[in-house]
């Protein structure tokens, strides 16, 4: 499964989350958009700082995981911590497409109206 590289990090993944592998809440799935609410402070864990810096612009959880080079589960645990501290907010993209938000027929009518202009 590959020789141990010389440049991987010395910290084990479980030390990032204090041994937790499961997020307490289901607030985050792969495509949840995360937005920073407060600026990172100096005493924070570096991953939290990185998340807060990245999420100044809404970023999906998968993107965060790719940026941090961490497994999704770990990122979700980290995000849950930040959410509990109120440092980020999570927005679910599905809510925009959920039924009742905007009727596709209405959109169609708008499109037709626009074309007729």
């Amino acid at each position: 499964m590959g020789r141990p590289g010389r440049d991987d990090a010395p910290d084990r993944l479980f030390t990032l989350t204090g041994g937790r592998s499961r997020a307490d809440s289901d607030a985050f799935d792969l495509v949840t958009l995360v937005v920073t609410e407060t600026e990172p402070t100096s005493g924070m864990q570096s991953e939290h700082r990185a998340i807060l810096t990245t999420c100044r612009r809404p970023t999906a959880v998968v993107e965060l995981a790719a940026d941090l080079k961490l497994p999704i589960s770990i990122v979700r645990v980290l995000l849950t911590d930040l959410l509990d501290q109120g440092r980020i907010s999570a927005r679910h993209p599905r809510s925009a497409a959920s039924p009742g938000a905007v009727d596709p027929r209405l959109l169609e009518q708008v499109l037709v109206g626009l074309r007729n202009l």
Partner: protein, 546 residues
């Protein structure tokens, strides 16, 4: 022999006096009787001197007798002594032979013990090295598995295994350090203090009780990182082991002029003065394996590593009620991140993002190396120029008249124009390409077939034009001042100015009627502006949840 001489003399001095006294009495008696008889038998005239002489002779005789007796006695004693000495010498010889044999045996035993010790240490070191390699490989495998499996139950199990393997690895490291082998793996780059602490945490059992407070961004040199991690792991393990199971252990990293101080504070057992001193001597690194007690090898490992890397470890009672350990990392093990990759860059990136135009190219990906400030400024310098350069290039496209009246413009590119040119005759198509004089374009010769040609071209000009116009915009001249080169590329004639080429006015006058392309350009510019501004707005309208 020198030892026996005083023995002999003291023996002689302590010889009994009785034989000498007996000899004295006998000789006095005999000489007295014989002398008296000799004197009485002599004539009276010589009796007095004779008596004196006889007395003197008797006295001498007595003295001689006593002396002889004494020496006989001494000789006797010496002979006895000699006999016993001979026996002693014989015994000493036997002893010497025995001791020589013993010595040889012990030397042999010692040599064998040393060889055994060396072999044992070497095999320990070898085994520890293999265990280190195994655990390192296993940790890498586990890491790969953790990346691969997203199931949280599997991940929890993998974490458990990871933790156990890391602890086994620490044990292997300890054995390696004590047996004099090299300690663990080497890192090719400096490791940030946070990672060092986490690496140490991962190797102890009670890591969940440890709280780290490391705001420092100091890096530890790669060659010492593993040792420092191991030292901290041992100290943290001690702190968590010897403190109540629910008490927290706090780790602080703090920069001082001498280097970096890492303090480990627990709320556990308070060490007495004697224990503190013993611990200090254990970590001083001067102790050898002989003083190693079976169960406590952590501090000895700390001592060895501290001496190897020049760390200073000291113990003191902690304000938390337990024991505090201070580890001083000397300055030569530390490095600070370079300015470009460090905090200045992270400071510069929000700045760059706040700039209206810099936000467009500097897509905010903070994990990627942020755009340094000068580069962002260069971008802002380029960006306003780009629409300005684009403007003369695209604006005339919406206003086709000045170009389409000049038939030379797109003729070389347009097959339809070729066809049209052939219908008109060869002159219509070769002439504008060869000598394109703007003044000659309005002549009737080329103009007659124009309407049909323009109709045929309309479908193609949209795609043909950008190719032809971009060079003209690059040279900074308006297309009206250009001619076509032999390859059909637009070319400005030498010395020709915009006013001379178009005495009636610039072809792409700003006052021209708004056309769709211009509108598109403006929309693009506006959207780029909006893109640039958006990151500063935490709640962009596009992402608001309904």
């Amino acid at each position: 022999m020198t030892a026996t001489t005083p023995l002999t003399r003291s023996g002689t001095e302590r010889l009994p006096l009785r034989p000498a006294v007996r000899a004295l009495l006998v000789s006095v008696l005999v000489t007295g009787v014989l002398g008296t008889a000799f004197v009485l038998s002599a004539p009276p005239s010589v009796r007095t001197p004779l008596a004196w002489c006889t007395a003197a002779g008797a006295l001498l005789l007595c003295v001689a007798a006593v002396t002889v007796a004494r020496y006989v006695q001494v000789a006797e004693a010496l002979r006895e002594r000699l006999g016993s000495l001979g026996e002693e010498v014989a015994r000493g010889d036997q002893e010497r032979v025995r001791l020589t044999g013993e010595n040889t045996r012990l030397t042999e035993e010692r040599r064998r013990a040393l060889a055994e010790r060396d072999a044992a240490l070497a095999s320990f070191a070898n085994a520890a090295g293999r265990m280190q390699a195994l655990s390192t490989g296993m940790l890498a495998d586990l890491r790969a598995m953790q990346e691969r499996h997203s199931d949280e139950d599997v991940l929890a199990d993998l974490f458990h295994l990871d933790h156990r393997t890391a602890q086994a690895g620490r044990l292997a490291d300890s054995v390696a350090v004590l047996s004099g082998a090299r300690s663990g793996r080497r890192w090719a780059r400096p490791i940030v203090m946070e990672s060092i602490l986490r690496g140490a945490l991962g190797r102890i059992s009670g890591y969940q009780r440890v709280r780290t407070h490391a705001a420092s961004d100091v890096h530890v040199a790669g060659h010492a990182a593993e040792g420092v991690m191991h030292v901290l792991a041992e100290l943290l393990d001690n702190a968590t082991t010897f403190s109540p199971p629910n008490a927290e252990v706090h780790v602080y990293a703090e920069e001082v002029p001498a280097g970096l101080i890492v303090s480990v504070e627990d709320a556990g057992l308070v060490m007495s003065e004697v224990q503190l001193r013993r611990a200090e001597s254990a970590v001083s690194g001067t102790t050898d394996l002989a003083s190693l007690s079976g169960t406590r090898m952590g501090l000895a490992v700390v001592g060895r590593l501290a001496r190897k890397h020049g760390l200073k470890v000291s113990f003191r009672p902690s304000a938390r009620g337990g024991t505090g350990v201070l580890v001083l990392l000397p300055q030569d093990l530390l490095s600070r991140p370079t300015q470009a990759a460090g905090p200045t860059a992270t400071v510069a990136s929000p700045e760059a993002r706040e700039h209206p135009f810099a936000g467009l190219p500097a897509a905010p990906a903070p994990a990627a190396p942020p755009v340094p400030a000068p580069a962002a400024e260069a971008e802002t310098a380029v960006l306003p120029a780009a629409p300005a350069a684009k403007e003369p290039a695209t604006a005339p496209a919406g206003d086709p008249d000045p170009y389409d009246s000049g038939t030379f413009r797109t003729v070389p590119y347009d097959p339809a124009a070729y066809r049209g040119g052939r219908e008109d005759g060869p002159g219509a198509h070769t002439r504008p390409a060869a000598d394109a004089e703007p003044g000659e374009t309005p002549d009737g010769h080329a103009r007659t077939p124009l309407p049909s040609r323009r109709e045929a071209r309309t479908g193609r000009t949209a795609e043909a034009r950008p190719r032809t116009e971009s060079p003209s915009s690059a040279t900074g001249t308006t297309p009206g001042a250009t001619g076509s080169g032999p390859a059909g590329l637009p070319k400005r004639r030498r010395g020709q100015t915009l006013a001379a080429a178009h005495p009636e006015g610039a072809p792409a006058s700003p006052g021209a009627a708004p056309d769709p392309v211009d509108a598109r350009l403006r929309a693009a510019r506006f959207s780029s502006f909006r893109n640039a501004v958006r990151p500063t707005d935490p709640t962009p309208e596009g992402n608001e949840s309904p």
